[in-house]
Symmetry: C2
Subunit: 189 residues, 2 copies
């Protein structure tokens, strides 16, 4: 029993984690993943994304029995009816979620038991860009500020190291800070 209890840290099964890391080190091709999202326009600013399958660890994953269904929208002042958070807010969510999970996994690997992880993210946007009014400002956020509160059974310095390492390894932090090449294809019939 003690062993089982010890193996789970921060809700992460560390035995499984070390097993996964060893498997990928031995067979790097298992690391090739592809994630997917399908979106459908409903009306106005309302559209809906469905997420279920992905490819990873050498096979098509079929473990998710139901899709995740995620609605987007815009508030009234941006011409929507609040059918969901808006796309820029979802980007903040993706970033917060990824930094948090990275932090929790790094802490589990470094034997730090966390008791609390909270964050607030803010993104500043001059909407003249996205509305097509001005070419002097960019369309997206000019900057994003993330403020984390992290508590656990480790000294402050160690907790800060865990956060720094999470930043270094977060997939979404990498994408949002460095950018990703995106190709867009269009079919009209």
């Amino acid at each position: 029993m003690t062993q089982v209890i010890e193996a789970i840290r921060n809700g992460v099964d560390t035995e499984q984690m070390y097993g996964t890391l060893d498997a990928i080190k031995a067979q790097p091709e298992l690391a090739a993943f592809q994630f997917r999202a399908s979106n459908e326009w409903i009306d106005g600013a309302h559209n809906r994304t469905t997420i279920q399958r992905f490819y990873g660890a050498g096979q098509e994953d079929e473990s998710r029995e139901e899709p995740f269904v995620i609605d987007a929208g815009e508030p009234a002042i941006l011409l929507g009816t609040d059918t969901g958070a808006n796309p820029a807010e979802y980007l903040l969510h993706a970033l917060a979620a990824c930094l948090t999970t990275s932090l929790v996994y790094v802490a589990a690997a470094r034997k730090v038991r966390l008791t609390e992880v909270r964050s607030t993210l803010e993104g500043d946007m001059d909407v003249r860009g996205a509305l097509g009014i001005s070419d002097e400002v960019r369309n997206g956020f000019s900057r994003i500020r993330a403020s984390f509160t992290v508590k656990g059974d480790a000294p402050e310095e160690k907790l800060r190291e865990v956060v720094a390492r999470a930043q270094q390894r977060s997939a979404v932090y990498d994408m949002v800070t460095n950018g990703v090449p995106v190709s867009v294809e269009v079919e009209t019939a």
Copy 2:
């Protein structure tokens, strides 16, 4: 009645749209927006974002009576229990949703009535980066492919122009392709 019907195109109130554009052109300071997201770690790869207030059009917006609550997770193979789509999948959702809304707004402004907008996005990731196994690969997607199907009462060329213009103006497309400066602050007590 005819006028009212004409004013709504693709679910977008074009009278309101032109009014908003005119107001911002006259008073550019109304264009300063700030969007926010607050995230709380639950357990393992499960964390939850709450989104409600934002600043825009010269004031704190209080029009949303309830927050949007969005759960993130990871599938079993990435050490989670599927408590929600994963952060990288949410980034694909943010991108799909933003391109779609931009496209719908641009079409409304250009008097194109859309009948269908669908998209599928794929992102390729070598998870050795995010798992800390390799410094040779990046943490995030190496590339994202978006495939759109767009139908409406306009010739193919016009529909393609609308998509191209949406790409040029999408806030999330700008952020994902060009990157955004992100600052991270940590408090540990």
